[in-house]
Amino acid sequence: MTTRYFSYVLLLQVIFACRQPDVTISTPDHTNYTIEVIVPDLETPWGMAFLPDNSLLITEKEGELIHFQNGQKTIIQNVPTTYVRGQGGLMGIAIHPNFKDNNIIYFTQSSSVDSDESGGNTALYRAVLQGNALQDISLLYKAEPNTKKGVHFGSRIVFDTDGYLYFTVGDRGNRDVNPQDLTKDGGKIYRLTVSGEIPTDNPFVDVSNAKTAVYSYGHRNPQGMTKHPVTGEIWTHEHGPKGGDEINIIQAGKNYGWPKITYGKNYTGTTITEDKALPGMEQPLYYWIPSIAPSGMAFVHNSAYADWDGSLVVGSLKFNYLERLTFDNNRVVFREKIANEIGRVRDVILGPDGFLYLAVENKGICKIVPNP
């Protein structure tokens, strides 16, 4: 009897874990905002970070770091050589929590450094922004090994409330080797101190041969990461294959399952795994079917848009809009398209002025301005 009851509960749990309420995305009939292109003529703007003077740093995938100030674009000098290939390029950018005193910035790029092997992998750098050039450039982390694979570099950078730095590296097109192996880079979220050291309380510091910078694993290609403005949690999303893009809240040492569990299929439509849930692996907070190809992620908080506060916004590369999601107890209850048909949205941030800024491929940086 007990066993039967137990199996029943287990079955229910599995069913429950595999289902999420169907929340169809809505397209508003009319919108009460205007989209202003504030930085025109960009090719593939990948990441953005505001400086305390309200000027903007922008990474171009092809390798240029742009400082946009007073309506002028300036190319920042001394950026290390980017290994531009496939999805790789100059990507993530963030400023030091204490930038106003030390002018330190962080960026990720696909890179061939620190290895004799051909190809590249994701590198995290720290440098001082002095005038129009980088100085004191130091390589904080280089994922290994180099590979000529063109996909899944990850690359967002975020600081948590305690000042730890998190960055992402995708599985580098080697899903059966990297994401589930703690001794290998790729398919991971990493956590470092501001100076690039391994925090002593990182989850795998005592695991023999583990990459001790790893904070969580079993990821495919996380290209969105942000800190929750109230709880301080680190939220990420990641590209699934055909279907199965995910939103996750990152916890120390957790396994997010790729490719052992997924809600997606191979691009050809064949099965990757029958399993959508397994013991010891985290369920996503939300998954997208079909894939929207999410990139960039921000919470709307103390914003210029009263109705949107508390939402999460996510860029869609595939469907050319910004997706806004609202939650009830960490369950998605509403989704809508913002800036529909704007183009491939690569990044989104909430500026210090409370406005949303979108990095749109082949367009530039766009600001969403509420109508009066």
Binding site: E43, K61, Y83, G86, G88, G150, G173, N320, R344
Partner: protein, 129 residues
């Protein structure tokens, strides 16, 4: 003797076929790594967003096809009468890889061509406006 020649003939046919299959496999590897996410395994693309490669009139201009792979596409293009306005970034491929993937696209999903694109041919294509 005649039998020997026959065997020789057979083996050369087999050899060519193997060679072709090896090449095709190599061509496809590039496609699967760099193109398949948007253009899909069957080359159909995505309605209104990503142009198809299967039976695409755009591909009749092999030079323009290779140019778009090397330098990307930055403005609107029309494929089979449908206008697409979505960027395609340059992928940073080597010339031999561009030859491979062009050959794959020109010889897949019912697409056929008489020419085999070579690395040297790709090398000769310079950027135009």
């Amino acid at each position: 003797m005649r039998f020997f020649i026959f065997i020789l003939f057979l083996s050369s046919v087999t050899f060519d076929q193997n060679n072709m299959e090896d090449s095709y496999e190599r061509w496809q590897m590039v496609y699967d790594d760099f193109c398949v996410r948007c253009h899909l395994p069957d080359g159909t693309g995505e309605s209104a967003l990503i142009p198809p490669l299967v039976s695409a009139d755009f591909l009749q201009d092999v030079k323009a096809t290779i140019h778009s792979i090397i330098y990307g596409i930055h403005g609107p293009i029309t494929v089979n009468g449908v206008r697409y306005n979505n960027a395609m970034a340059p992928m940073g491929l080597e010339n031999d890889e561009i030859a491979d993937v062009t050959n794959y696209i020109l010889n897949s999903w019912g697409n056929t061509t008489d020419v085999i694109v070579t690395e040297a041919y790709v090398h000769g294509i310079k950027e135009t406006e």
